[in-house]
Symmetry: C2
Subunit: 331 residues, 2 copies
DNA sequence: AGTTTTAATGTAATCGATTACATAAAGAGA
DNA sequence: TCTCTTTATGTAATCGATTACATTAAAACT
């Protein structure tokens, strides 16, 4: 049906080798021949078969992301989509492709192995990094290219991460600018890197600036947040500002405290769509940029270039949940 | 590095043809030989190179979805993700892969053509169907397999669509059950299939049941909705129920009317995440199922099976925006 | 002019599978 | 026992590119 390199070669009166050379710009082909061949290629709108090319070159130009299915909550948040968008922005610019896949979290290493063996993919982007992640050990040992989103203590890999430290710092700084003196920070789960990084930012801001911050460990979710606030209320609530490690927590806090007539500046983290609707001030982690950079890093790595890990800055999105309080002091 | 069929053949003391036969279960291989070969395959954890297989078979086992970038609002909603999830649920079960891609809406046909010519993909799923869609003409003419999400009047293709007619019918029926008599339906843009289908459901319910429905055309968005309500308020608002063609519209309506002290049962369409938070009753379109079915249909089509188009039923999710009013009458 | 170098192109092997065709061995039928 | 099937397996072509190596012609050098 569709033309192959041999057909083009015949029509242009040259050998397939010459057509291939023209196609790949590389070798020395005379200007004359090059033009003659290009003419035929354009006339017939010829494009090489990527499968054949891949077989020969041992490189497909396809990268992979495998979402682990746990509980079924994969690919339901806007995080995944924004991330994909960033990745695709880079890849589409380069004519590269992305395979998106899902798999149960069990046997995950085996699954990566089978994908590698199938030879379809040149490299992976890893999401949902865990402590002591088996995938990383495996891929490192296989010397198969990959880039990780997020980081942990080991860091025997190239990663792209959002700057949780400065993100949290900005949040506290903003509260300080609103004249908050005693801030409550409800952290995410203890012991995971994201929580530790954000806590570091909080503490660093509290040291630099004129704010005292109390830290309580939550778990990124609503229920636990309410529980924490309940026990604090019992002892008497005397904070004049709250920072939560996620928007979900912050939203829960606002709703809960309102019932007790308590209204203080509150900041969340993540900038989920709901936050825009309810006017929650929050830290926005440029997820698109993270995706873009990860794809770029992976691509460089696959092509043998030197690659360094990267921390992408976040920005504070100021909305009513804090701005309403600025009127009290300014203007 | 990794083993090829030739290595397996040598280790098992048979020819590559025999190994291939064992691999593909097909031909007649003696029980004895089959076991001998399987043993070697398992011992070395051999897996065929999919690129080589694809070249020979002229089929890759990879399907494609191309998101059109227009304005930049692609892949930002939960629709895309849920849809992907459905597609992936099917494909991963079958060991098939999905390439997710984006492209400017201009030159879109050319882009599909180039993807086809690259031979990477066995078939497409088309999103964002338009009237008189060029892609469909092109793919039909090329006889390249594809399945469409949504449908239009032409329907010279296989599609999977959500049942907008019955979705809208259920909404009106629910309002009727709450004893609404005069309902306002704010439709989506006039002239597009989704709007027409939903309108059909509304009208059919209005005929069957004891409700009168006034229809106004909006555009699925907030601003226009508010505009419409403003002009209605001027003439005097005497509806006892509202149905909107999207959750975004419904949420805008609730917010706007509240300012005038108007509170009536309101139903939206789409079940966006916000709706759960604010308690909006809405029609949920089972997007995951739609994705799953589309992938399945495409797969059948590629494998030469007979395929029929499919309409996936939606369900009504009842929440406070209507249930609050049921107390007025029942209990 | 004769030899060497350089540039341009062609020939054929290769990537790793599948499969049409060939062949050998075993079983069936006479 | 001899021929005819049938069954199991092997040989080699093929998919459509890339590329090492060979070859030829032209340019450069002595």
């Amino acid at each position: 049906m569709s033309l192959k390199i041999k057909d083009i070669a015949e029509k242009a009166n040259v050998s397939v080798a010459t057509v291939s050379r023209v196609l790949n710009g590389s070798d020395k082909v005379s200007q004359e021949t090059r033009e003659k061949v290009m003419e035929v290629i354009e006339k017939y709108n010829y494009q090489p078969d990527k499968i054949a090319t891949s077989l020969r070159r041992k490189k497909t130009g396809i990268y992979g992301i495998i979402f682990s299915v746990k509980g079924g909550k994969v690919l339901e948040d806007t995080y995944s989509t924004k991330f994909l968008k960033g990745v695709l922005n880079y890849l589409s610019k380069k004519g590269l492709k992305l395979i998106v896949d899902i798999h149960e979290s069990s046997d995950i290493v085996e699954y990566y192995d089978s994908v590698i063996q199938s030879k379809i993919i040149d490299g992976f982007i890893l999401l949902d990094l865990r402590k002591n992640d088996e995938r990383i050990k495996f891929l490192n040992q296989k010397k198969f290219p990959f880039v990780v989103i997020g980081r942990n203590d080991e860091n025997d890999f190239v990663y792209v991460d959002s700057d949780n430290v400065s993100g949290a710092y900005m949040a506290i700084k903003h509260l300080e600018e609103l004249r908050c003196k005693r801030v409550l920070y409800i952290s995410g789960n203890e012991g995971i890197p994201v929580s530790e990084q954000r806590l570091r930012g909080v503490e660093s801001a509290s040291n630099d600036l004129n704010v005292s911050v109390d830290v309580v460990y939550g778990d990124f979710d609503e229920e636990k947040t309410v529980e924490i606030l309940k026990s604090i209320l019992k002892k008497g609530f005397d904070y004049d500002g709250i920072f939560c490690a996620s928007d979900t927590m912050a939203y829960a806090a606002i709703k809960f405290l309102k019932r007790f007539g308590i209204e203080v500046p509150i900041i969340g983290y993540d900038n989920i769509p709901l936050s825009e609707v309810v006017g929650l001030t929050t830290v926005d982690q440029n997820i698109i940029k993270i995706g873009y950079s990860a794809a770029q890093a992976l691509d460089k790595m696959v092509n043998g270039e030197e690659v360094v890990s990267l921390v992408v800055p976040s920005k504070l999105v100021k909305r009513q949940s804090t701005l309403n309080f600025s009127k009290r002091y300014f203007k």
